[in-house]
Subunit: 554 residues, 2 copies
């Protein structure tokens, strides 16, 4: 990997930051084993699929006497999937952790994700390289990739290079799917007696890899702070110019945690959450009507401006849209040959003529740019590309159409001008906040201790994270404990259960208690940019989600 | 104005920041008058138009003995035009400045821009209100607006409320147009003996209000740092995932200073500057070919990713596009009735049939979405809406088309996938950087001293800003000194000359020396977010533009 030629002043100053760690990791330690565990659901199936790694105990570390040196060993590390702030700190923590065990230990990084393991593409991560990346954002130290590690041939191919490099443990830093695959790999290597441990680390800015034992996935803290910074700046502009409704789409396809967290930090006038839309069986028209009502209420109070937050995956949560997409995919698959012969400007009519009445009506109600896209653009599998729909623009257009109607009907008399924004790539590679820098470094260092304790099929776990770092609890969770069976591409598969926004959870309930007040007043909060050097109440503040979820532990 | 219910931790901590000021403003001072001045051009015309405010001397302040108390007076303030970070600090500096002269002095803020003066919509800005807004972003303390203050009736209507409130001086915080109008107003009030002084303050994130006496317009420092933060984050993502070309459009319609500054801070692979495109008489195809060549070069080096920066106003700088737009506007105006009768799907053909060959060929070369927009969407004056063209998408599409062709020709063998972004509203209301907080507060405080010295038709000026704040020079520039005559809406008008990126200037030359290296290597720099509390080399760094322009003064 090429390195950056010039470092920014902040990177240079920030390199000196020493991440805070749980007390147990700061010196000699001992492992404490708990009771055997069960999987989240489908215990029989999961047990059968993971005979060697099922039922292992939760473990944690406690400070102890004596040294922690051990025989030397080599470790490999992989960054899997989308970038999240703090990945470099996991790796530097892992490096420092294994060096604390034995200075002869070596760390190898596989290049551009799991593909690097399969294709034997790697570098040794030496102290000089590690020092270039401490407390920085990005995954550029070894790159990341989306190759899925799930086939026996891949595992065998990977084993060749692991054995060639004498690697005894592999750390996979990834989201729910990557950790599922890490567990499958751990099970496989154990089943064939390959003598390679596999440890997972919970990463995703989406915040959907979370459960009773994993309080947060890393990167969520930093990414939501960057998004809240720019949302706050837009809000301040909105409240100064007083002439636009800003529609802001945020990353998060399967879960709306990012949107909820940003709402809790900034208090927008409208916040849409996919999980709520699904639970309430809302239609697109319900959503559009709700926004139009807030716009009308504010217009009546003299405020023709506001901010709307929308999660990227919203459209896929709407039950009626799901049904439309499903029928579209089926219908187009059945009539592929016919449809290909239809002239471009007749395709929409063709689609309308071949859908059920309910779905045809919904399809017809969509703005032309969206129906055109749904009818014309398909992915390599022939499926409709829902992800290409620009939800924030779709909503802005549909709200405008509704308000135009209400204006004719004399219900609405305001002005409605819009701006739209999408924030995703802006936050995934930000330099980690203090919280993420500490959490990630601890996760990595802790992974080294799990390796030293001989564990495999475990996820590195740092708990009690709402308390000061020296009270954090370092340990490991058997990955099978988080699994259940789900249908993927038509087949039942063991997977880690995705954590969606819980409608019984404290963050959501707090939001519901305040949203009417936030919609009618202008209660915007302007969090500003992440600070690395200031007072603790500015620099070390955890997310609102974590604060609300964990506050009873104070 | 309603106030925000909840303040962020950063706002609370930042409220305590004490802006640094030029030494002359820190105690008793005396005014030093220089030689009479001349306007930038068209001296005879400007002199005739401004008989009472032409030729006044440049003035500056120096520390002196004794007190600076004076008889009490009331002052009004207006925020004009687009938001820029630091507006609240100009107002708090002005407030503290007039209070230092006489604690009985009062400050009135006119609401939502110049319209507040004309419509007699104002509040008194008391110490309690001012304290809520120190060192914060936004213009929400009194709001801003784009009403142009240029007619006698407006001036007379404004005078009524100024006299009613016993206001002796009005401070107008705005860009080049607003300061031009401030000067016209100063001239008018002086000509009728109205006894109201008018002082301007140089504001615009675009950086185009700048000359030998005004080293920077306020807000440029902060806004470009916010844009560079998110561009740096996108670059780090780009360099980690290694699969996208990111096209980033930046605010700045008439000048490309913002884009140049961000390029100097982050080192993108391609940077387009409107001024260069115009000077070199480049065509759209020249630009597309240049980007495609950089993409091809990088692909040959194994890098199918990169970052392109584009100024918002690029398209309007391309001479051939200017000619197309001009002919389109003329042709559509002439054939309005005919054109309205043409069916929607035939309008493009109609346009093609009525343009000159050269312009028809260019029109035909544009992506369908753009030609459709140019043919169908018009502003209230019937003009083509160039500003609606999404330049970053247009370029990405056209580069893709060119690379597809080159692939067929065997010239290009890489992959080309794109993401696009537009940053504008994200930076205009950020909390001011230390530099902007100091500069703005000093501009406001200094405006109070100019008022006390009886000046009118002056712009508040703080010079030597590349040196530490106590060496800054506080003074005033006669606004007429910056003027020349330009055609506006068909008429010759006296206006402040807009500062474009100079192709003989040091910032541009530095960029030219490095751009090839930045295009072929991945030399990205990741500046990170603005820091308010850290080491001086992180927190007090001026822009690269100012550093390069002023570095000979070190």
């Amino acid at each position: 990997m090429e390195t950056t030629v010039e470092k920014s002043a902040l990177e240079i100053a920030r390199a000196a930051y020493r991440p805070k760690m749980p007390k147990a990791l700061c010196g000699p330690l001992t492992i404490v084993e708990g009771e055997p565990t069960e999987s989240a659901d489908n215990q029989e199936e999961i047990k059968e699929l993971f005979p060697n790694t099922y039922g292992m105990p939760y473990v944690h570390f406690e400070p102890s006497e004596g040294g922690k040196h051990s025989a030397s060993l080599n470790v490999g590390v992989i960054l899997s999937g989308g970038q999240a702030p703090g990945g470099h700190n996991v790796i530097s923590g892992l490096f420092d952790g294994i060096k604390s065990l034995n200075p002869k230990n070596r760390l190898y990084g596989f290049i551009l994700g799991p593909a690097g393991l399969i294709e034997h593409n790697y570098i040794e991560l030496t102290g000089n390289i590690i020092d270039e990346y401490r407390n920085t954002g990005g995954f550029d130290i070894i790159g990341s990739g989306r190759t899925k590690l799930e086939k026996k041939e891949q595992f065998d191919k990977g084993l060749e290079i692991l054995q060639a490099l004498d690697i005894k443990a592999l750390v996979i830093i990834g989201g729910d799917d990557s950790n599922t695959n890490a567990c499958v790999l751990a099970e496989y290597y154990k089943s064939i007696g390959a003598d390679v441990q596999v440890i997972g680390c919970p990463k995703t800015i989406d915040g959907d890899l979370k459960n009773s034992e994993i309080e947060a996935s890393f990167g969520f803290d930093t990414a939501t702070k960057v998004y809240s910074e720019v949302i706050g700046n837009i809000m301040r502009d909105c409240n100064s110019a007083k002439k636009y409704w800003h529609f802001v789409k945020l990353m998060g396809r399967s879960a709306s945690h990012v949107t909820l967290e940003c709402a809790l930090q900034t208090h927008p006038n409208v916040t849409l959450l996919g999980e709520e839309v699904e639970a309430k069986n809302q239609t697109l028209d319900d959503i559009v009507t709700y926004i139009a009502e807030v716009v009308t209420d504010r217009a009546n109070l003299g405020m023709n401006y506001g901010v709307v937050l929308v999660p990227e995956g919203l459209i896929e949560f709407i039950p009626a849209i799901k049904r439309l997409i499903a029928e579209l995919n089926d219908m187009l698959a059945k009539n592929q040959a016919d449809f290909d012969l239809v002239a471009a400007d007749k395709k929409i009519d063709y689609v309308l003529g071949h859908l059920s009445d309910e779905n045809a009506a919904l399809f017809k109600s969509l703005p032309l740019s969206v129906s055109r896209q749904l009818a014309l653009e398909r992915d390599p599998h022939g499926n409709v590309q829902v992800s290409l729909i620009e939800t924030e623009q779709l909503l802005a257009e549909m709200v405008k159409a509704k308000l135009d109607q209400w204006k004719k009907d004399g219900i609405y008399t305001g002005k409605f001008a819009t701006q739209h924004h999408f924030f995703g790539y802006e936050g995934r590679c930000a330099a980690p906040s203090n919280w993420d820098a500490d959490y990630c470094y601890s996760l990595g260092y802790n992974a080294a201790m799990l390796i030293s304790a001989g564990k495999t099929g475990y996820m590195s776990s740092i708990k009690n994270t709402f308390r000061p770092a020296d009270e954090w609890i370092a340990g490991g969770i058997p990955i099978t404990m988080m699994m259940n069976m789900e249908k993927r591409n038509g087949q039942m598969k063991p997977v880690i259960k995705k954590a969606l926004v819980e409608l019984t959870g404290k963050p959501y309930k707090f939001f519901v208690r305040h949203r009417t007040e936030w919609s009618r007043n202008t209660s915007f909060v302007y969090p500003g940019p992440i600070q690395y050097f200031g007072p603790a109440e500015v620099c070390d503040r955890p997310t609102a989600t974590l604060t609300l979820e964990q506050s009873d532990k104070l």
